[in-house]
Assembly symmetry: C2
Homo-oligomer: 260 residues x 2
């Protein structure tokens, strides 16, 4: 199994604190030592940092933590291989362009028989069930809409519906970003917290690191954090229900939809 | 104008020495301070390091130079903005998936009226002529072939032909990688050197850095380096002819084709 981390904000925010919590699970506190990746949006484009090796001991992960990049939307993943070899091509998050924007995807779980799903013009590069499922989602979206839907709720419903169809094939917890939304589908384990005023302390579960968010925020800041398991021990995390999908935008929960 | 750097090898090689030469031109020795990018292949997948800021003063560029990643195929670019704002979406190299592999593209020059070119299902994310031209090349390839051509020379000829068509719209020096080949089209300025046995010293033009390649290579190693201008002062660089395209594979020049 893998662990997921997503962040969606209303002001550019760095993900260093939460990523530090995730990184510890990539080879030190957790068994997720088969690779890691971090995707950071800048408008409709995303940049990724990917390594097919343990996050906890990675110089690149250390670089990312030492040189914070602010973003409105980020997706991170630490991998414990279940399907597919350890390689760059199999390292989440996966990225594809659709409608002139980058879509970014990370998956936790295993989806069986996924290769029967149609992927349209999106061809997997690696051999994971996860990348195949991502291609199937994008192909489904492209079949439904010619361009990025003006009515955003149409997009939300389509992602939830297609996610539900793919999810019938196995365990399909995922994070999907499109530069404007963070979609988070729960199959078994997923939780979120909204950090907003009044800000206080947060302490990482797996480390002694504490941040006082009131020192680094303004009263209007809002940051949604989604993770496989709570990353902090002094914040109230909301746990997801199987077959539900959250949509985050502008640092808040915009919708919770059925996805089954 | 921008500067291009490509490397294609028969054994995994790090690009640090040549990238150091290029990096100096990104804000210190050259005027190319509007961004830089480096793409490193691992099989059919590529990872990129991108920054919409000067390369010479970039901590990420320093990281890349201090933590060499070996690869068979790399493309790098330092940017001096001519079209399009300074942003991540406009930072070369650009990457798209086609036929289950990453294609990677960097451009030097300006192509006018490029938005009239058909880009098929590849939609630009940024607003550069370069990314649009890249999308047009991929769309042209997808129209010609349903999958990666078995006869490699069919692919070479198609890239040269489409590159020539796009090149009629302006100055179209480019590097294109597909995980197996490095395509290098010359419109005005491009040169290459093949590093092979007997290896000797090479000294960067813009720095005092010297490498003795005989210390870090075996006799069978072969490395093709392509750049906008010679990076070293003690190697014999072959200069390109306008309207010609080189194809490099396995560290050698596989073909020189007309592309006009």
């Amino acid at each position: 199994m893998c662990e997921l981390l997503g962040m969606e904000c209303n002001v550019p925010t760095d993900i260093v604190f939460s990523f530090s919590g995730l990184a510890l699970r990539g080879g030190v506190k957790g068994p997720h030592s088969d690779g890691w990746g971090l995707a950071l949006y800048d408008g409709r484009a995303v940049r990724t940092f990917l390594e097919p090796s343990a996050c906890a001991s990675s110089p690149l992960a250390t670089y990312v933590r030492s040189n914070p990049i602010k973003t409105l939307l980020a997706i991170a993943h630490v991998r414990k291989r279940t399907r597919g070899v350890v390689s760059l091509a199999n390292t989440h998050p996966f990225v594809r362009e659709l409608w002139g924007r980058h879509f970014t995807f990370a998956h936790n779980g295993t989806v069986r028989g996924v290769k029967k799903l149609r992927t349209g013009r999106f061809t997997p590069i690696g051999d994971t069930d996860s990348e195949h499922a991502f291609c199937a989602i994008l192909a489904g979206l492209e079949r439904r809409f010619k361009a990025y839907p003006r009515r955003r709720s149409d997009l939300w419903e389509a992602v939830a519906e297609i996610g539900g169809v793919v999810g019938r094939h196995g365990t399909f917890n995922f994070l999907l970003g499109d530069g404007e939304h963070l979609f988070a589908r729960c199959a078994t384990r997923l939780c979120y917290v909204i950090r907003k005023a009044p800000f206080g302390d947060a302490t990482l579960k797996d480390d002694d690191l504490t941040v006082d968010f009131s020192e680094v925020t303004t009263p209007d800041d809002r940051v949604a954090i989604v993770a496989t398991a709570p990353l902090t021990r002094d914040e109230l995390w909301t746990h997801g229900l199987p077959g539900k999908m959250w949509v985050f935008s502008n640092g808040g929960l915009s919708a919770e939809l059925p996805s089954c």
